[in-house]
């Protein structure tokens, strides 16, 4: 659904993106993460065909952003990190304008506005002016305006920024529902990784204007499907030779003491089952055998703490 090939973006005095490439499949919910100034917003704006990359190709729903920017605009909804609303318009008029200006026919605009309001749970405030809404509700109205034309791709840049914890939770649930019900391809940039965990199926890390961590990774509940799994073991009774027994059973010990251990297992679920069987056979008094989920936050921190990779050809 989104293809990005060797995208370079130059500001007059600095390069913001250095040959970024990745692909996002239809229906994926991607967490776009990275430190401040990494190039996330620039990348999103290029994908949204709001800014023009210096080099490289971006296709959204098959449309090249350079050749057919207006087709890209029609295919997506983009909510920037700093957005505005028409404060003097009511929620209904805001959504009607959004629908009509996004190509929804006059005969269907009312229904589209109502549907969008229902999706963000604003349908009970249709006659309230946008300027009278709280920050959380304004965020919801902005998202409703962004999805009123049923885009195939939704880009949300730091949507939870500035919201209180309750509003964040509501927003998180709302995006989760959108992802599950609409089939949209969603890209969410955020620093609040624990919330992305709930609904993101993939993660892409941008660091220093480059893709870090090897490209698009499985995230959230899929995160442990990698080649290695960490497993925590807790014993019901201490066993002094636990580390020795684990090594004999073929497990790579990360850490161990008499009461428990963390081991690394290669080979997926079957290897984990086999290890469990060997430990039980060896008489290890296991109380818990728990695969450890590698959270987005862990993956993110591991990547950002790696030393910066020099950029070939970059001037000082």
């Amino acid at each position: 659904m989104i293809e990005v090939e060797n995208v370079v973006y130059d500001y007059p005095s600095q390069r913001a993106l250095h040959g970024v490439s990745f692909r996002i499949a239809k229906g994926a919910v991607l967490a776009l993460v990275g430190p401040n100034g990494a190039g996330k917003t620039t990348l999103m704006r290029c994908v949204a065909a709001l800014d023009t990359q210096t080099e490289g190709v971006i296709r959204v729903d098959g449309h090249n952003t350079l050749d057919h920017p207006r087709a890209v605009h029609a295919a997506l909804g983009y909510l920037p990190d700093f957005f505005g609303l028409y404060d003097e318009l009511t929620v209904r008029r805001s959504l009607l304008y959004a629908a009509r200006s996004r190509g929804v026919g006059a005969d269907r605009a009312e229904a589209a506005a109502l549907t969008a309001a229902q999706r963000v749970e604003l349908d009970d405030r249709m006659e309230q002016r946008a300027g009278e809404l709280s920050r959380g509700l304004r965020q919801r109205l902005a998202i409703a305006q962004t999805i009123v034309h049923e885009p195939r791709v939704l880009l949300l840049d730091e949507p939870a920024s500035g919201l209180d914890p309750e509003a964040r939770r509501t927003l998180s649930e709302m995006i989760g529902k959108l992802a599950a019900q609409s089939g949209m391809t969603i890209v969410v940039s955020s620093h609040i990784l624990s919330e992305l965990e709930d609904y993101c199926s993939e993660m892409l890390m941008i660091k220093d204007g480059q893709v870090a961590g090897g490209g698009v990774l499985s995230a959230g509940s899929q995160a442990q499907a990698g080649p290695e799994t960490l497993v925590d073991l807790i014993l019901s009774a201490p066993r002094a030779d636990l580390a020795e027994v684990l090594q004999r059973s073929g497990a790579a010990v990360v850490r161990a003491d008499a009461n428990g251990a963390r081991v690394s297992v290669k080979g997926g679920a079957e290897a984990e089952t086999a290890l469990l069987a060997r430990l039980v056979t060896a008489g290890v008094p296991l109380r818990a055998f728990s695969p450890v989920k590698r959270t987005l936050e862990q993956a993110y921190l591991e990547e950002v703490r790696k030393p910066a990779t020099p950029v070939l050809g970059a001037a000082a």
Partner: protein
Amino acid sequence: MNPELQRNLWLEATPRRVAWVVVALALVLGAVGVVTGMGGENARDVGRALAVTGGVIFVVSALLWGSREAGQAVMEEIGARTWEFQRLSALTPWTMTWGKLFGATSVAWMAALVGLTFAAADRAVDQGAASAMLFVISGVAAGVIFHAVAMSSALIGVRKARAEGRLATLRGSVFGLIFLLVLVWVVSGAVGGRGGGFDFLAGDAPVVWFGESFPRDGFVAASLALFAAWAVSGAWRLMRLELQTRNAAWWWPAFLVFAAVWAAGLASGAAEAWLAAFAIFVAGSYVSAFAEPADRIRLRQFAGSLPRGDVERTATLTPAVVPALLLAVIAAIGLTVVGSESSSTLVQSGNDAREVLNRALRDDATPAFALLAFLIRDLGVIAFFRFGARPRRGDFGAVVALGLLYLVGGALGSAFGDSVGGALFFPHPDQPIVSLISAALQAFLIWTLAARRIAGPDRPANA
């Protein structure tokens, strides 16, 4: 209905605002009528007083208030952070342009048309219905020109601000309108034969255009209507750029050629016609040098696409100053050819050929090419400052530098070397060869420096 027009009407033409405007107009016009009537004037004098008041209402509402609203139609979107949402809309650039142009100014137009009606009614009594109709067409076209120029200037300001990494302000619209007023003043006055003023618009004598005589009010109405169409189409072309639609570089040269033909038609001879065209192309070169964003990325892409022979891409990346400058060169050549033709006529009439040739070079060709060389130098100065490390101060720096070169340099040169010294710093009519050589050397020097700035670092530093 156009959704952009609808939204603007929702926001601008609220029942409360409309009611206030109606009350204010009724009070002003009513007061003028009552005061004039109480002064013992007859009905005709009351009508004239109302017409003058209507004219003032039109100028204030259409030209001042409406222009502000047209500029704000874009600037308020920037301030309210709704512009990106609009840029992503499915509206065509044309729908967006006219929706904003007539929606944002709807209440101002309402007041302006009331004023124009009073002014036109008085004209209908004095000069007949046809004259009143032409007067209304002229008024409406003038309003549209002002609004379209205000919106275009705002759009230019938005593009420049984005390239220079600063927030856009309404300053662009103000500069645009001031430039428009100066242009109208110069053109109108020049045609009226006095070098400045609004004689052309206000006079009664027929207009001679390419040898044909036209009633002045009809000619003015037709001219304003045509320029209004160009102004609106200019706003549309700039809106296309904001909505990420590529523009081939035909509009600007086409407009300059139209303006040049219009002005040439008013000239009294072939040399004056070419001179008028030359002046318009030179002015167009300066305008485009300041109006386009200082975008070195785009210039690098232009420089890259040119040798590849990628015509379509090159056409969209060509800086607007390039066709304007080429047109100025063509006009300078035209001026030379016309000068040669008049010289031949003089030779055939028995004049000394050598003297005639010298006169042609002095009076026609060399001054034009000296001016051209100074133009190229000035474009280099503008580029040098606008592509500097602090682009947001580039325009100001370029204006100051040009002012110093022309005023201080010219004054010093004249003080030390009479006409030859002055000719080193501005196109001197008595020393065109000196001016040409001096300007060419200066142009070479400043463009060498400017090119280094535009090229910048080979590859931008890491983010």
